[in-house]
Amino acid sequence: MTKARLVLLTALTLMGCAHQSGIQQQPDIDNSAEAKQALSQATICCTDFSSAVMQQLHNGIITIGANSQVMQFASGRSAFYAGEIPAEYYGADVTASSLVGQTAMPLQIMLLDTQRNPTRSLGEQAFPFTEATLFSSNRFSGKIRLLPNERFMVIYANTADLQRKLTLPHPEKLKARAKNVAPPPYPDLQIPYSPWGNVELKFSNPVAQMSVMETVVQPASSTPQVSTTTVKAEPAAQTTTVSQQTRQYYQQAIQKAVKNNQIEQAMQLVAEAEKLGFTEAKSVFVEAVKQK
């Protein structure tokens, strides 16, 4: 894409957003049907990330909605938020959470290197459903350890199957649980999936890159109950890919941990790597132990 085209496309995208916000009424972010409709009619901003508008990432809540850029991902067309990782958080941990309210956005994240080439693509299974507690709301959430060379983050939705619904307990059932009595037979709430949503980002552990042996606590692996109201489309096969660089990183870290007799750390690295899709991590670990 030439520079002139890129500028034009970006300008058109921004104009499109301005047009939307200026004249038409914004679709409701809490309305799944409106979000799907708006997404289907949205203008594609770009075919790769070189031309995507990058914001500066920070702790807080970002919105994937009517004003977001839209492009085609392996899992389908999606609005996205692209941002540059602040320098102090290179190699740090980031917890990304798609907040569940009237709707539920199945979260996916792609990480890019300095050249804006993807290093990792984290599918929605990396962000399992986590039930609300006193201190946090219902959410799809996962904690990622950034690789030292990762500079950009693309936050988007898995739009392959938005017919799904997230089943949440009725508030009166939660009250019964809090009082330790049998739950009354209220039906569960059915929260529709949506291509739009609010995503909370929390950076932490900025010195993580100083010690590869620091572990990342994996998110709770509870899975949302999912129901389909129509024949379910098969989601795109590609949900998680692992770059060669990531493999090397985990391979070396596991070998180093075993060499230093830090077996539990090594095992946690294996679990982390497997979660990212590096399925041979366990073999690397076993081989490292044998060679010791």
């Binding site: 006193l134 330790n180 009595v181 049998a182 037979p185 077996i263 132990v289």
Partner: protein, 436 residues
């Protein structure tokens, strides 16, 4: 969850390391879950402080003055890929009188301040080869109590120290079996004091989730309370010093039907002997066994229908209807007829605001030694309710700004009166309820 250091693994033998590798995926512990509930607030009346009267008959809405609380902590301490898990559950519950500034727990029940461990039990799931879906449990437990929420009592309220197996898939439903110890203090027949605690064990069998029609389900519950007396206690009974404690059986059927955003539930119970008084007594009740009267000929029956339904998009209606009948509950109480009706329509203004009107009425007639004694009353509560709604909030506070008119039409059973001997009360207050 505590983070272990790596130091203890410095000398991990090779074989152990490989064995550990093979068990990757077995997680040591999940986060501690913290849930809880409380109700609190301020109440008053046009004549002194507000007095609650028979919430189990007239409805609890605008008719509660104390501050109940529950604090629950639980954790799955171990889980593996085979679906096996161990867990622990601990719960404190109790009451605060909400009268004074300084209300320590050790001021005791008479002052309305209590705290106890209602639960401390452990679970093990997946360890019965023929029923891997079942959970073994042991410890102190409020065991799947069934609450009629509007009336604040428990048609099935079995709790105590026990053990059991829960959730065995059996045919179309689920079978659970348990034994719980819930001892009973004996009351002397004469005006004397005895200090006898009778050992009572409840054998509880439940068959749940039995599909009936559409999405309606039936649960059958059988509780048999068996008294395990010492020789000296039998001697006290024979001498007539204490009332005779007889084994008792109470079967219950519960038909539940989920509705759109609501439900309807019918509970039918019939029993004899010691359990019978639970079904027909005036005050708070749950499944309890009293060695406090001669219940040898007692028989009782109770039917409860309760639920909640949307009458339109903006009107929601909750209700609880109870009929109970008893005969020969004690040698002098020959017959009991009890009716209760509580309805609470509410207009929903928006996600956070609704206005509710609760109407409660009851009438109970006890035939005692040939005389008919009547207890009856009515209650009207008007309240504006500010609620969190189905939002992002993690805690669900609910505020009720209420005023209640309550009238004791007849009080021949318990001789109740409000302050200064009045037969009615106009009260008002703000109650907050929260759970998480």
């Amino acid at each position: 969850m505590t983070k272990r250091t790596t130091r203890s693994y410095h000398r991990t033998p090779l074989a152990l390391a490989i064995a550990l590798a093979a068990t990757l995926g077995a997680s040591a512990a999940q986060a501690v879950e913290f849930h809880g509930y409380f109700r609190t607030g301020i109440s008053s009346s046009t004549n002194g402080d507000q007095q609650a009267w028979l919430p189990g008959k007239l409805g609890r809405f605008g008719n509660e003055t104390e501050g109940w609380y529950d604090i629950a902590l639980s954790q799955d301490v171990y889980k593996n890929e085979q679906g096996q898990s161990f867990g622990v559950f601990v719960m404190f519950d109790g009451d605060v009188a909400l009268k004074r500034d300084w209300e320590p727990f050790d001021s005791g029940y008479k002052n309305g301040n209590v705290m106890q461990f209602s639960d401390m039990y452990a679970t093990a799931k997946g360890f019965i080869p023929s029923a891997p879906e079942a959970t073994i449990w042991a410890g102190k437990r409020g065991y799947e109590k069934r609450e009629t929420q509007m009336l604040d009592y428990k048609p099935i309220g079995v709790g105590g120290n026990g053990a059991g197996v829960q959730g065995i898939k059996a045919g179309p439903g689920e079978l659970s079996v348990a034994v719980l110890r819930k001892d009973a203090d004996a009351i002397a027949t004469e005006d004397t004091v005895v200090n006898e605690l009778f050992n009572v064990n409840y054998f509880d069998i439940r068959y749940a989730k039995l599909p009936v029609f559409s999405d309606a389900t039936l649960e059958l519950i059988a509780d048999y309370a068996m008294v395990n007396k010492t020789d000296s206690q039998e001697a006290l009974e024979a001498a007539g010093t204490v009332y005779e404690a007889e084994n008792a059986f109470i079967p219950t059927a519960i038909l539940s039907k989920p509705l759109e955003n609501g439900f309807n539930e019918t509970t039918i119970q019939a029993t004899t002997k010691t359990f019978a008084n639970n079904l027909v007594k005036l005050g708070y009740n749950e499944t309890s066994f009293g060695v406090d009267n001669d219940y040898s000929d007692a028989k009782a029956f109770r039917i409860i229908n309760t639920g909640e339904a949307y009458l339109s998009d903006s009107v929601i209606m909750s209700h609880a209807l109870v009929y109970a009948y008893g005969s020969d509950i004690t040698p002098t109480t020959e017959k009991v007829n009890a009716y209760t009706a509580v309805v609470r329509p509410a207009y929903i203004w928006n996600q956070n605001n609704k206005t509710a009107l609760e109407l409660g009425w009851f009438k109970q007639t006890n035939t005692v030694s040939g005389n008919e004694l009547e207890e009856s009353g009515k209650k009207v509560t008007l309240a504006h309710v500010l609620t969190a709604g189905p939002s992002l909030l993690t805690m669900r506070p609910d505020f009720r700004f209420y005023t209640t008119y309550i009238k004791a039409d007849k009080n021949e059973i318990d001789n109740w009166s409000f302050h200064d001997g009045k037969d009615h009360q106009i009260s008002f207050g703000v109650q907050a309820e929260a759970w998480w």
